[in-house]
Amino acid sequence: MPATKKSASSKPKSTASKSTSKTPTVVPHAAVIAAVQTEIERLVTTSDLPRATLEAFSQFILRQVYPPQPLSIKELQKAIYQHFEVANATELKKSGSFKLASSGLGKLSLSDPEDCKKIYRRLIGVLPEEEGEVGYGCINGINIFKYDLPWRVFGLDPEKATDEDIKTAYRNLSKIYHPDIPNTGDDKIFQKINIYYKSLTEKFEQWQ
């Protein structure tokens, strides 16, 4: 999926995080998703609206109506223990791998959900409630200030993408986020995009 322009609001919406563990999980019914897809197809053929914009907008609406259920503290802890192949917090604290992988995250408390989320983001993956996030710093549903997922940000499949695909995706993003672009240009975002581009096109065979 190509990049979406950042929304007018400068801060990400926090509707998803308002969900509590007591709220039952509500997922969009398959029929709803199918209806949205059908409507997108209709709009693409009957109007000039680009598919990517429509898809991004539909995802945004679906997230507002069906906010993803955040992981409970126990689920977060379990995922972290599994990642480091340990049974409990005591073993985790002794793990050299954990100390290294969590370095730079400051003093962490495993009973604090926010600290667990920091570890989860860095090591395990995208938190369900942050999947498809929109707002400042979010490109293709990923908040680049929370996650370093260049392939997702570039909207590319690492197994299939060619160097030319990477270049094209980079150019497309540059057209939005280059600091010289009025309204959407952003130096901080563009710096990240640049690093991602260099990382994806790195000539590691020549490393010395």
């Binding site: 992988a101 370095s103 690093i195 990382s199 790195e202 590691f204 010395q208």
Partner: protein, 335 residues
């Protein structure tokens, strides 16, 4: 991989028998050759100071003997097994630590992290360049090799350095791709040990620099706080390394390598040498004294004595560099 041995004492404890009983069992094993109960020297045990030390197979054979004889308390084999597993783990980790220690001369602190060169990382992992490239490719595809987080190039250099997190990712990536069990364990241990071992190296380098400062204090005390050349009390007394600290770090904390000088003489010597950045040796200082203070026979004699005591020295860059002798600024300054 080193073989792990358990002492007779420890094995007797595990098996809940006395040392005497263990010796009787050993005799029983040795009594009839080629029977059901057999212990092979070299494979099942070794003898140190006339006492046997057992391998895991040897310990297991004794355990089976006890199990087959109901007059003994049936011991729990899990305890022995756990002991061997833990011991093997510690031994392997010691090997990994040693490998890291011997392959970290590129260690440098930048951007609030410690980094190692590509060649050092390849050596620590004990892999080939083509396999290393394969791992990097797979990590890039998984968003796990990102510039300035996992690898970087420092200003003015084309050389690539890998962060501790980068090394961790490479080691885990290798562990997941490799099929050989012992190589998998090695990679897992590199991931586990890279950071604590670098921390230990840093502490050791810092401790060495404290030793140098301490040696300088001792040198002043030895020289009675006088300039060794002028034999005068001076306001600014400095301690000079006869073999320069930067080029001969291995003897930087040696008292024989230190001499107290007035700052005037110290500066003059280095100017005579062509600048403070130029490497100097004890031979240079002897030549300097010959030229400017030839009458100072006792000093020349003392210098000759220090020269003999210090022996032949090789400067850094001559192939014997070691991470523990890196300059402090390399691992503390954040560029």
């Amino acid at each position: 991989m080193a073989i792990v041995f358990v002492s007779s004492n420890k094995l007797a404890d595990f098996l809940k028998i006395s040392l005497e009983q263990l010796k009787q069992i050993e005799e029983e094993f040795d009594r009839i050759p080629d029977d059901k109960w057999e212990l092979i020297k070299g494979k099942d045990y070794r003898v140190v100071n006339k006492v046997r030390e057992y391998t895991q197979t040897g310990a297991h054979a004794i355990y089976l003997y006890l199990k087959a004889h109901p007059d003994f308390i049936n011991p729990d084999p899990k305890d022995i097994k756990k002991w061997f597993v833990d011991k093997k783990k510690h031994t392997q980790r010691a090997f990994v630590d040693h490998k890291i220690l011997g392959n970290s001369t590129s260690l440098i602190r930048r951007q609030d992290d410690y980094w190692l060169s590509v060649s050092d990382v390849i050596a620590i992992l004990g892999t080939r360049r083509d396999y290393f490239n394969k791992i990097i490719k797979s990590l890039i595809a998984k968003n796990l090799m990102i510039q300035d987080i996992h690898y970087t190039r420092f200003a003015g250099s084309e050389n690539v350095y890998i962060s501790r997190l980068g090394i961790y990712n490479i080691a885990i990536g290798m562990r997941d791709l490799i099929t050989q069990a012992n190589r998998k364990e090695w990679c897992r241990d590199v991931a586990e040990r890279i950071s604590p071992q670098i921390d230990l190296i840093i502490k050791q380098i810092e401790a060495r620099h404290k030793e140098i400062e301490w040696a300088k204090k001792l040198a002043k005390k030895r020289d009675k706080n006088l300039c060794k050349v002028t034999r005068m009390i001076c306001h600014s007394l400095t301690v000079h390394h006869l073999y320069s600290e930067a080029y001969y770090p291995k003897i930087a904390a040696s008292l024989s390598n230190l001499i107290t000088l007035s700052s005037e003489i110290h500066n003059h010597f280095h100017q005579w040498m062509g600048g403070t950045n130029k490497p100097c040796t004890i031979e240079d200082f002897i030549n300097y004294i010959f030229e400017y203070y030839p009458e100072h026979q006792s000093l020349l004699l003392w210098l000759e004595q220090q020269k003999v005591s210090l022996g032949s020295q090789q400067p850094v860059g001559s192939g014997s560099d070691h991470v523990l002798y890196l300059p402090l600024k390399r691992i503390t300054e954040n560029h």
